[in-house]
């Protein structure tokens, strides 16, 4: 069994050893997953999609690029100017020059003044598109949606499967009346914790502030009173999932209404799938077979409980909250270490994990 991970390894089939390497992560935050980790990630995503089917949430696939103009309506450039990766083409007047240069030698970059204006952005979170897609809608019932997206962020540094240029985010979103959104988040908060417990994955729940609303002092104050974001943190620093309550921010900005005419509330549960891979591999000393076994066993374990609740509705409404033992720890007494490395979840970028 090959348990190499991290660093620069061939992640395809290694002709010399016959073994598959788990993944290859480069310094610029680009990672290639080998077959075993790919299978593990698909298996996890399948299971989360199973949760979404049970809601039931509509599966959706949104465009791979977002319009800058659309994101602007969500205050994106005000709050996250540092985060977005814009897309651009080579300006027509420079085509010939670039082609000549490519003939003459290796091309490693194209200068900004040769590019067209950037009108599109790579998504930084999966669920923006859910709200944008619902623009102008009047919902006669809560709308549940699940989607997965490759999300991209410019970061100060990159690190293995923990912090990537581009990563995979699965989300299950609820848009509708406040009560429905809160119930959705409560259900998934308990479900993620219970599943992590079945995986023997030590997770802590930590309240996080969401800079999404940072331009509004009143909202920021309210957020401190009623946390809108909780992160599931592995190993003290790595947020692998989050539940996010957006109040009616997206409902207002995207003009989404409930049946009674009020602006829709929204909330999402988000999973950073590569970070789950990191956590699972870390737990099992890089042994992907054992990680997969733990996942399959946890799935069977959850199925046993679901079967029981199917037979005796009411007897087993929800798993007892495993979070009693996993309440956020008091703030670490680090004092001077104000920059204690804390890897924010995908939802520092507002909507997502």
């Amino acid at each position: 069994m090959c348990s190499e991970h991290g660093s620069e390894h061939n992640c395809g089939h290694d002709a010399a050893t016959g073994a598959d390497t788990l993944f290859r992560a480069a310094e610029d935050g680009l990672v290639t997953l080998g077959p075993d980790v790919t299978e593990l990630m698909i298996a996890l995503d399948d299971h989360i999609r199973g949760w979404a089917r049970g809601v039931p949430a509509r599966p959706m696939i949104y465009p791979p690029l977002m319009r800058a103009a659309d994101l602007d309506t969500l205050d994106f450039f005000h709050n996250f100017p540092h985060l977005g990766v814009m897309t651009a083409g080579i300006d027509e007047v420079h085509h010939a020059t670039v082609a000549e240069e490519a003939k003459a030698g290796p091309v490693t970059r194209i200068a900004g003044d040769r590019l067209t204006d950037a009108t599109h952005v790579l998504p930084t979170a999966a669920c923006y598109n859910v709200y944008l897609d619902l623009r102008g809608a009047r919902l006669d019932a809560p709308r549940f949606v699940t989607t997965v997206a490759r999300c991209f962020r410019r970061e100060a540094y990159y690190d293995g499967l923990r912090r990537l240029t581009g990563f995979t985010m699965r989300e299950i979103v609820c848009v509708g009346p406040q009560d429905a959104v809160k119930a959705h988040l409560k259900t998934f908060r308990a479900r993620v914790l219970a599943f992590a417990d079945r995986l023997d994955l030590p997770l802590k729940i930590e309240a996080a502030t969401d800079p999404f609303f940072s331009n509004d002092a009143a909202r920021t104050a309210m957020q401190k009173l009623f946390p809108v974001k909780e992160e599931f943190v592995y190993g003290d620093t790595l947020a692998i999932a989050s539940v996010n309550f957006h109040r009616n921010f997206f409902g207002e900005r995207c003009d989404i209404h409930n049946q009674d005419g009020s602006h829709a509330f929204s909330g999402c549960v988000a999973f950073g799938l590569e970070r789950w891979m990191h956590a699972l591999l870390d737990m099992h000393d890089g042994n992907v077979r054992r990680a997969r076994a733990a996942l399959e066993v946890a799935i069977a374990d959850e199925a046993a409980e679901l079967a029981a609740s199917g037979l005796l509705p009411g007897d087993l409404v929800a798993p007892p909250p495993a979070d009693e033992a996993q309440r956020p720890k008091p703030p670490r007494a680090t004092g001077g270490d104000a920059n204690a490395r804390r890897e924010r979840g995908p939802a520092d970028a507002g909507a997502g994990a």
Partner: protein, 303 residues
């Protein structure tokens, strides 16, 4: 009894992980919360309509083949009755065998944590054996005999500990495929749906338990570093799955459904591609699990 206590003991530590103990506690709690008295839990009707489907036609061993096309619907319904009796009979005989293996390990050294759940397992399996047999005797007047023959061999206890729980889990996962389909099928009599539903709920715990044991015991086998042994174990499990699935092709049921040459029919079905595809589907959950976890290994071609 003397001389038996070391044969199925486990090395200390194999099942000693705290995560396993917590899982055992969770499953035990589900068992306690879901505890029922089987002798009072079923409303047995006086009779099951002989013209109704006792088993979904899509689950019949002839489905998808020319043989199914040549049988009229009345014969198919009769066959469904007898194949369902065969299914419950396989359950009764299979449970009796797995109970013996589990009871032999109850409170053996190394199984301390597992033994806490073994008691639930043994009790629940006895209930299943009873209600399946009760169904057969009430509505068909008989069980089919056990066609399996166990040949006594001297097993390697460490492999045998793993194989016992692998066999149990594979058997349960095969049965669960049928249970879930039959519990949900509205063409079936409510009494039939109920026994399948109840069995599914209990088995989902046993499967979760079995998978945990399989994984831990297989890790223990892996620690020996004997690749050839792991290949043999894998090969054995493939053969065990095939043999188990073949039990669903019952000449006794064909005979009772009035089919002329049961053994020839069986032989034809066992070589039919549509049946191979269906059987693979029945086994998919368990083969996916065992492949992903490395318990089933790639078949090596002889050099």
């Amino acid at each position: 009894m003397l001389n038996t206590s070391t044969s199925s003991a486990l090395p200390p530590g194999v099942l000693a992980q705290p995560a396993f103990a917590r899982a055992i506690d969770r499953l035990s709690k589900l068992s306690v919360d879901g505890y029922y008295n089987p002798y009072r839990s079923f409303a047995w009707p006086d009779a099951i309509d002989p013209a109704s489907w006792w088993m979904p036609p899509e689950l019949l061993s002839v489905w998808g083949t020319d043989a199914a096309d040549t049988l009229d619907e009345a014969t198919l319904r009769t066959l469904a009755k007898w194949e369902s009796i065969n299914f419950y009979s396989l359950n009764v005989h299979g449970i009796r065998e797995l109970l013996q293996a589990v009871i032999a390990r109850l409170h053996e050294p190394g199984y301390e944590v597992a033994s806490r759940f073994f008691h639930h397992f043994v009790g629940e399996e006895n209930d299943h054996m009873w209600f399946f047999a009760e169904f057969c005797l009430r509505y068909a007047g008989k069980l089919y005999p056990d066609r399996q023959v166990r040949i006594e061999t001297a097993p390697d206890p460490l492999i045998e500990n793993f194989l016992v729980f692998a066999r149990i889990t594979i058997f349960e996962e095969i049965v669960d495929f049928y249970n879930t389909a039959m519990a949900a099928d509205e063409r079936l009599d409510p009494a039939i749906r109920k026994i399948n539903q109840v069995h599914h709920v209990d088995e989902s715990r046993h499967i979760a338990f079995g998978r945990k044991l399989m994984v831990l015991l297989h890790e223990d086998l892996c620690r020996r570093g004997d690749e050839a042994l792991l290949d043999r174990v894998s090969e054995y499990l493939r053969r065990y799955m095939t043999a188990s699935i073949r039990g669903f092709y019952s000449p006794d049921a064909y005979r009772d459904a009035g089919i002329a040459d049961p053994l020839a029919l069986r032989r034809g079905l066992l070589s039919h591609p549509a049946r191979a595809a269906f059987d693979a589907r029945v086994l998919r959950r368990t083969t996916d699990f065992m492949t992903a976890t490395g318990i089933l290994r790639p078949v090596r071609e002889a050099a």
